[in-house]
């Protein structure tokens, strides 16, 4: 029997379960705790990543980061993905989850599969696919718009010189961020729909029946029963989205390789620390970016969880 108050951290090692935990503990310490701790140290050094010698420079990397506009552009892009894409993802995910949770919804299985399919496709394949869709000259999107424009020209609603549409979907900050966000929504929504559907399925039917008897309509049931009781699932889903949005790399790299206007913190960090084409090789500076990212993830998920805890409801 464990006596409260006499429990000390080193007692862990005398507990029989410690033996079972030991291999995982060792691996976790060697491959996560130690590198993470080292990252904090490396962020305080000037280091090319090749030499065994690291020069301690205190907080200089962080000071430089504070002054670098490209980095802040990358941070703002992460926030656009977090809030912009996030709002779209959760709006549509809730909508689809509510609709598909209705067992009488026609084609329920088909729509579930269709929504979830992009999630199981490799992110690089998705990126290649959407690069074709967004291509300014022969992409699907501009071709469709051109087709529509030609139709309007025939009707005399558009001047003939505007029949060929050449929107640069990934060519400027104003266009690239919404375009990339759209891909992110398309690729990620299936996961959240499934997650939310699982949450909705868990809500007892008698609550809806009671509400119906009391005269509540579908909309009222959704806002007063479904949404509040989905709170814990939403907290997890939104936390996952926050972390994913802040760590966004694969899609951006595969679609644009990161440019002045599409860099995220992660792609920018790679550009600075590893990319041979830029020949920068600033491991200390790049690591400082990951340290900032680490604190951002902690801070944002922690703050979000506190806010959501305050909004807790019980039935």
């Amino acid at each position: 029997m464990i006596v409260r108050g006499k429990h000390r951290w080193w007692h862990f090692f005398t507990h029989p379960g410690a033996v079972l935990v030991a291999p995982a503990f060792i691996l976790y310490t060697a491959f996560f705790v130690y590198p993470a701790a080292m990252a904090f140290y490396v962020s305080l050094t000037r280091w090319s990543g090749f030499s065994p010698v690291r020069t301690f420079i205190g907080l200089d990397n962080f000071r430089e980061l504070y002054h670098e506009s490209l980095y802040w552009r990358a941070v703002s892009n992460n926030f656009i993905f977090m809030f912009g894409a996030g709002a779209a993802i959760f709006f549509f995910a809730l909508l689809f989850a509510a609709a598909l949770s209705n067992r009488n919804f026609p084609g329920r299985r088909f729509f579930k599969t269709m929504l979830f399919a992009p999630y199981v496709v490799s992110i690089v394949a998705i990126a290649v696919l959407w690069t074709f869709v967004y291509d300014p000259n022969w992409g699907l999107l501009n071709s469709m718009l051109s087709f529509f424009a030609r139709f309007l020209v025939r009707l005399g609603l558009l001047s003939p010189d505007r029949a060929q549409v050449g929107v640069l979907w990934l060519g400027s900050w104003g266009m690239a961020m919404p375009s990339l966000s759209a891909v992110m929504v398309w690729a990620g929504i299936g996961f959240y729909v499934i997650l939310l559907m699982a949450g909705i399925d868990r809500i007892p039917d008698d609550l809806y029946e009671a509400a119906r008897i009391d005269g509540a309509n579908e909309k009222q049931s959704f806002f007063h029963i479904t949404l509040p009781l989905l709170r814990d699932v939403l907290v997890i889903a939104i936390s996952i989205h926050i972390i994913g949005a802040l760590k966004q790399f694969g899609l951006i790299w595969a679609m644009t390789r990161g440019t002045n206007y599409t860099h995220t913190m992660e792609t920018y960090m790679y550009d600075v620390a590893f990319e041979p084409r830029t020949m920068s090789f600033r491991m200390g500076y790049g690591t400082a970016m990951t340290v900032v990212l680490f604190f951002m993830v902690i801070l944002l998920t922690f703050t979000f969880n506190i806010i959501m805890r305050k909004a807790e409801v019980e039935y």
Partner: protein, 447 residues
């Protein structure tokens, strides 16, 4: 001691034992071998250049059998990812004997003090010529990558930016390779009028996009002026007329429809495939093309080259500037077999090996060796009065951090038509000023 603590410690010991037993012992044995020359090579094993390298390694072992009896050569075919694979070896202070990569990409290793200066070694006699080793290389090639007055690299094959064309197509259309910018535009117009898209380009390759503006400003002004501007010398700025005019040259190609349709989204190797298929007339890229496209060339295709045209309207510009890069070999500090490494490099840069490379359509850095048939004339551009400069209009990798932050994306966007000439120059100037202000604020050195 409690039984559970004992079990915990035994588990730890078993885990440590398992790590010791099953870790990759090959790397340790390689590093410890006394008679094994270790080389990190930038090609993949299935590339033709690797065939040459393998054969050269075998020949070296035979030729130096007396000096290095039983020597083995261990080649890691890193496939352009040399630096990534080299990183852990350099960090633990156990480098291979030789590393090979494009010179610009190896420069960070010099800056980190990890490579041997080779100045003295270059005064050794050449392997198969009666002259010092240094004198066998084309003049000026060492200046490209010299760092603080020292040479760290042994160049082998050369990368020069030139225009490639099909001689058969040009003969059919009665086109002669242009020398001036006006002639170049006229060639583009003729090609266009004959239903051939003049310029092949893959807009998704940022380095290729930038090459156009880098070429333009190396003609509208001098390389020295470009460098002075990049180093923020007083009286210089990126919105000077010479830079705007350079940007207008690039923009003109797009506005006149001389660049292949859809180039903005085109991915390598579409452009060069369009070119060999005769859909496009010109390809502006590096001298690796003859080797790279060897197996894709149709029978009735005869490859030729001409230099990036001069700008008669700017006689004060650098008409003779020819950008050049080189695949280089270097010896890391602390290499275990330094002497064998030096002999190996002397051997593979011999005239005989350079001629073999030339037969494989690879231009060599060795003076007087054969030139690949497709690149005949290249040697003219590599000797005076032509001035060899590093890529990006001479900026090269000296200001790699500045280049990454300031002009890289803007210069590419100009070629892609995402930004206009004047706007681009203004944006670059603002980004440039922000960069130097930041350096001043943090007391950092531009790099």
């Amino acid at each position: 001691m409690k039984a559970s603590v004992k079990i915990f410690l035994v588990t730890l010991a078993l885990f440590a034992l398992a790590v010791l037993l099953f870790h990759d012992r090959k790397s340790v044995s390689v590093a410890r071998s006394e008679n094994r020359l270790e080389i990190y090579y930038m090609y993949n094993e299935n590339e033709s250049q690797a065939d040459w390298f393998n054969a050269a390694c075998d020949e070296f072992k035979t030729a130096f059998a007396d000096k290095y009896p039983g020597i083995e050569i261990d080649v890691l075919y890193a496939g352009r990812e040399v630096l990534g694979k080299l990183r852990p070896r350099m960090i633990i202070g156990n480098p291979p004997d030789i590393v090979n990569q494009g010179g610009d990409q190896l420069e960070p290793l010099i800056r980190a003090g990890l490579l041997e200066p080779l100045d003295e070694v270059l005064s050794l006699p050449a392997y198969d010529q009666d002259m010092p080793w240094r004198d066998t290389f084309i003049d000026g090639v060492f200046d490209i990558y010299a760092y603080e007055g020292h040479d760290y690299f042994i160049p082998t094959s050369l990368f020069c930016s030139v225009f490639f064309y099909d001689k058969v197509m040009f003969e059919r259309l009665h086109i002669t390779p242009p020398v001036t910018w006006e002639e170049f535009l006229s060639v583009c117009q003729t090609l266009k009028e004959n239903g051939i898209e003049p310029i092949a380009a893959d807009g998704t390759e940022i380095g290729y996009n930038i090459a156009w503006y880098a070429y333009a400003i190396s003609r509208t002004t001098t390389v020295e002026h470009v460098l002075a501007t990049a180093w923020n010398e007083p009286g210089t700025s990126w919105d000077e007329p010479c830079y705007v005019e350079g940007a207008e040259m690039v923009r003109l190609l797009r506005d006149k429809g001389y660049i292949m349709k859809g180039y903005e989204g085109s991915k390598w190797p579409s452009a060069q495939m369009n070119w060999v298929q005769g859909k496009c007339g010109l390809l502006y890229t590096g001298t690796w093309i003859p080797k790279e496209m060897k197996n894709a060339l149709p029978d009735a295709f005869k490859m030729g080259i001409f230099r990036a045209p001069i700008l008669e309207s700017h006689p004060d510009g650098d008409s003779y500037a020819q950008d050049i890069g080189a695949e280089c070999f270097a010896i890391p500090k602390g290499a275990r077999h330094r002497e064998a490494a030096i002999d190996f490099l002397r051997f593979i840069t011999s005239k005989k090996q350079a001629d073999i490379l030339a037969d494989m359509d690879v231009p060599s850095a060795i003076k007087g060796c054969r030139m690949p048939e497709a690149l005949i004339g290249l040697d003219t551009y590599l000797s005076p009065p032509y001035k060899l400069i590093e890529g990006m209009a001479g900026i090269g990798s000296d200001l790699s951090e500045w280049y990454r932050i300031v002009p890289r994306n803007y210069w590419s966007d100009l070629f892609l038509g995402h930004i206009g000439p004047e706007e681009m120059c203004k944006e670059v100037e603002q980004a440039h000023l922000r960069y130097y202000e930041r350096m001043k604020a943090i007391g950092g050195e531009p790099r």
